[in-house]
């Protein structure tokens, strides 16, 4: 990404823009993001010399431990798409195979760690998760498929990470996990894994959830950053196309925390949302901030009916 020697005038020319700088170094930097620009121009169908490559979702069935996952399903009412598609359908054959085998899936190492944390006594109350909730396979079955939920006490939606922190502080007398602490990702994955295969849905009738959904929707379509991209620019308008060497999926959240091969570890949803916003060259909202919680509510709704795949494997 450093000072590229690619002729910037040629690169910019493809984009059909008239602004051409002779400052090679300055433009050289942005040329490496040429693919991004190309796509955003593609949306507006402005004089494209190269047709964007298509990377349509594959026709394949995901079966994990004998359980068939719902990777495509009819969209809920008011959804821009007819069909919602899991990100699994947009990945390569090798990556898909990695998720389909729960032994090979490297994220299962995190789930195993989460299972240990579940049993570990921490905090002044001398309790572990298991002290109150018992066997997670029973008590947490299906729970993770319906977050974020309305929290009447704090009067905002809570996701699994926040719920765990509340429980740690209130009931265990333990410290809340810092954002993206290894233990937070492991325990969140472990709890959500108990809902593997369950269709994802959230209850918008509770509290002010509808208002948060509205806010999330507004943010989803708000262009942001120097690249002036909204979530919808890529994940709605360009779904199925390539962004540089990568397939653009619908940006579904049913597999989080997910193992990203690129990062060689579990990645939380708010980490990924922040990463996406950073890539538009905008300022990143803090994890669990109102903005990101609103987006989480909205994008979770956008995946209504998809199976929980936590922990999924993505590129």
């Amino acid at each position: 990404m450093t000072k590229s020697r690619v002729n910037p005038v040629r690169g910019v020319g493809h984009m059909g823009r008239t602004i051409v700088s002779k400052n090679e170094i300055k433009w050289g930097l942005s040329v490496s993001l040429f693919g991004v620009g190309l796509l955003s121009v593609g949306l507006l169908s402005v004089g494209l010399s190269i047709a964007p490559a298509q990377a349509d979702p594959v026709d394949d069935t995901l079966v994990i431990d004998g359980k068939e996952m719902i990777t495509r399903t009819a969209a809920p009412e008011g959804h821009p798409f007819k069909e919602v598609l899991s990100g699994w359908l947009f990945r390569t054959e090798e990556t898909r195979a990695l998720e389909a085998d729960s032994f090979q899936n490297p994220a299962m190492l995190g789930v195993d760690e989460g299972a240990e944390i579940w049993e570990t006594v921490e905090g002044t109350a001398g309790k572990s998760c298991a002290s109150c909730h018992g066997d997670a396979a029973e008590s947490m079955a299906g729970i993770g498929a319906h977050y974020p939920k309305w929290d009447p006490e704090t009067k905002r939606p809570v996701n699994m990470e926040l719920k765990i922190n509340q429980c740690r502080e209130k009931n265990m007398g333990a410290e809340a996990y810092k954002f993206d602490a290894r233990e937070q990702k492991a325990l969140t994955s472990f709890i959500k894994y108990q809902s593997l295969g369950d269709p994802m849905s959230i209850d918008l009738s509770q509290g002010d959830m509808r208002a948060w959904w509205d806010k999330g929707k507004e943010l989803y379509y708000t262009r942001t950053g120097q690249l002036n991209l909204a979530c919808g620019s890529c994940h709605e308008a360009s779904m199925g196309k390539m962004i540089r060497a990568d397939h653009l999926s619908q940006g579904q959240v049913n597999g989080f925390p997910t193992y990203r091969l690129k990062q060689q570890g579990l990645v939380s949803l708010h980490n990924r949302l922040r990463g996406c916003i950073r890539d538009t060259r905008a300022e990143m909202p803090k994890a669990f901030s109102d903005d990101l919680m609103a987006i989480e509510v909205y994008v979770t709704w956008r995946g209504t009916g998809l199976s929980m795949e936590t922990p999924a494997v993505r590129h």
Binding site: Q104, L109, L261
Partner: protein, 108 residues
Amino acid sequence: MANVKPRVKVPKTASKGEIITLKTLISHEMESGQRKDKEGKPIPRQILHTFTCAFNGQDVFSCDMEPSISANPYLEFDAKVEESGTFVFTWLDDDGSTYTAESKVAVS
């Protein structure tokens, strides 16, 4: 290194002379030695450099691993089993640690 956990998958039973598939996965950073920390200092290499698998004391499979191998290395290989016994899997770490896992197979 904290949190190094091996996982192995071996069929519990097999018939005599059968070729079985063994799968292993271990949590490890596989720090390549090429990266730098926030202050610009190189992060020293720490990888699992050797893997061996023995069946009833006899080597079945072994390999050297190099710094470009991803975190949490996964290895899969086959072995022909003639008798019941125990597979012992061993990983050697740059820091001198040894991680092992065992799994029994009953051959009929």
